[in-house]
């Protein structure tokens, strides 16, 4: 019995490692990044589009806008495809096919992001350049590549949300004479709404945090993009592109870029968590 208590205590200490890791990450990123934001002035840092480390100009507005554009673009593409996949797999596909397709979608999640970026740059970018004009390396290219990359995340969470809807709801709707499609739009999607919202938010978090694929297809120009076909630099690519040779203030400014990203992601994740908790709360109340 005593031995069991000791083991329990050891397990508790080990179990705290995830939260300790998170705390360490927060402390170290903020300690490196926040001083430079204060020195440059938050207004200058967040609201200026002038990023020129050699002159000591650190303004990340264009990258924040860039990240926003690319993330929204990816979410639009990701949501349309993921929702279709989730609905088809849970409602319309024969069970055997659905069971076979799920691991295939997981495989899509396993492909390294550099591979997505590479295939994007050698196939998609020339297509955009040829048919739509511009340099090809663009917001559009980045959105499409990211949209495909976040597809497995959104799909698998959306499938969970759809499968959690009680069968009786669907049977009720069918029994009232609705078609299966009417049941999907009027009952299924509404009942699963909060889970689907959480799926989309988490997918957006994935998109905004993705680095290597975006560097390869987005063009990385420092201006605020004026169209879908303009090149763009995101917060993540700014860090990865310049970290290799940065030092002093410049390096701190990259950590400050990281702080910004960290805060945005934390807000997104908290929102997703809150939405899905709301859902489980509702289920308990029933």
């Amino acid at each position: 019995m005593k031995r069991d208590k000791v083991i329990g205590a050891i397990l508790l200490v080990v179990a705290l490692s995830a939260i300790s890791g998170l705390a360490l990450i927060t402390v170290f990123i903020f300690r490196e990044g926040v001083p430079i934001i204060l020195r440059v002035g938050p207004r200058q840092f967040f609201l200026s589009t002038d990023w020129d480390p050699s002159l000591g100009h650190f303004g990340i507005l264009s990258m924040m806008v860039g990240s926003l554009f690319v993330t929204v673009g990816a979410a639009v593409i990701g949501v349309v495809f993921s929702l279709s996949l989730a609905i088809v797999l849970t409602q319309f596909a024969p069970p055997v096919l659905a069971a076979a397709l799920k691991p295939v979608i997981e495989l899509l999640a396993g492909i390294p992001s550099v591979v997505y970026g590479f295939v994007g740059v050698v196939t998609l970018v020339p297509l955009i350049r040829h048919w739509l004009g511009g340099p090809g390396l663009s917001v559009l290219a980045a959105s499409i590549v990211l949209g495909v990359m976040i597809l497995p995340t959104i799909t698998s969470i959306a499938i969970d949300a759809l499968e959690a809807v009680p069968r009786t709801y669907l049977e009720g709707s069918i029994a009232l004479g609705a078609t299966r499609w009417q049941t999907v739009t009027m009952v299924l999607l509404r009942a699963a709404r909060s889970g689907l919202v959480a799926a989309v938010i988490l997918g957006m978090g994935r998109a905004i945090g993705e680095t290597m694929a975006v560097i390869m297809v987005a063009g990385n120009a420092l201006d605020v993009p004026r169209s879908l076909l303009a090149p763009v630099r995101t917060l993540t690519s700014n860090i990865a592109l310049e970290m290799g040779y940065a030092s002093g203030d410049h390096r701190q400014a990259l950590f400050a870029t990281g702080v910004t990203l960290f805060v945005i992601i934390t807000i997104l994740n908290t929102a997703a968590l809150a939405v899905s908790r709301q859902r489980s709360g509702k289920r308990h109340a029933r």
């Binding site: 031995r3 069991d4 329990g8 397990l11 508790l12 080990v14 179990a15 705290l16 995830a18 939260i19 890791g21 998170l22 360490l24 990450i25 170290f28 990123i29 490196e32 495809f81 279709s84 996949l85 609905i87 088809v88 319309f92 397709l101 691991p103 979608i105 495989l107 396993g110 492909i111 390294p112 992001s113 550099v114 591979v115 590479f118 295939v119 740059v121 196939t123 495909v148 078609t179 299966r180 988490l202 978090g205 945090g209 993705e210 680095t211 290597m212 560097i215 390869m216 993540t236 860090i239 990865a240 970290m243 290799g244 990281g258 990203l261 960290f262 992601i265 934390t266 994740n269 968590l273």
Partner: protein, 279 residues
Amino acid sequence: MKVSPVTTQRIAVGFMWMLTGITLAVLVFILAFILVHGLPHVTWTFLTQSPSSMGREGGIFPMILGTFLVAGLAVLLAAPIGVATAVYLSEYTREGRLTLVIRFGADCLSGVPSIIFGLFGFVFFAITLGMGLSVLSGSLTLALMVLPTIIRTSEEAIRAVPTSYREVSLGLGGTRWQTVFYVVLRSALPGISTGIVLSLGRSISETAAVMLTAGSALRLPRSLFDSSRTLALHFYLLSREGISMPNAYATASVLIIAILALNLLAYSLMRRFAVKATR
């Protein structure tokens, strides 16, 4: 004109099937594109030789070893911690404030982007702890990154073990620890291994975090404190800097085959798990 509900259904479902088809086509295209261009260049010498002139010539042996070391060590470090956390959460405590905090930590950690892990690993392991850009810094960083995945999959697997198993073990006079170790963990093993295998895949695929922590040295790592370039980073540098397209495709093919093999392994483990659970 009013379209009948049945026609609407036909159009909508047809459209969604089309999108499903496109998704699958994209997946097949990506895999085929890399393998068709790359596999012809994957030869025995390519796999066993060191690169020369920045990777333009020669093979990728140091990167294979580097990937193996960085990713393998990461999973080796994260697996025991992750499984122990899952055991604690599901077997050793009641739901309460403490489990909420632990879960919140794991949830948040799983949302942190890899480039942030890279920045953290760089400033904490490489600089503050003085490990430099090295295999060890890289694997510690990756271990932290895959930890939430291992915790979640292990906890799911452990919770899927029927309560009756535990009752029998306790009823036979087993202690709590004996029950966990000999009964619960044993039945949950396929599920736990699935999570570990998938984490290994994720470690192998990772680029951004590894770039900032393990560095990009081309030579063979001789100790854990040596810098080492992983396959994913090598592929990135080859293609981005236009050093050698054939070698880039070949490196990507090796990477893809590794990922395919790991996913297949994870899938077969999961199936064994599913078969057991239905019995």
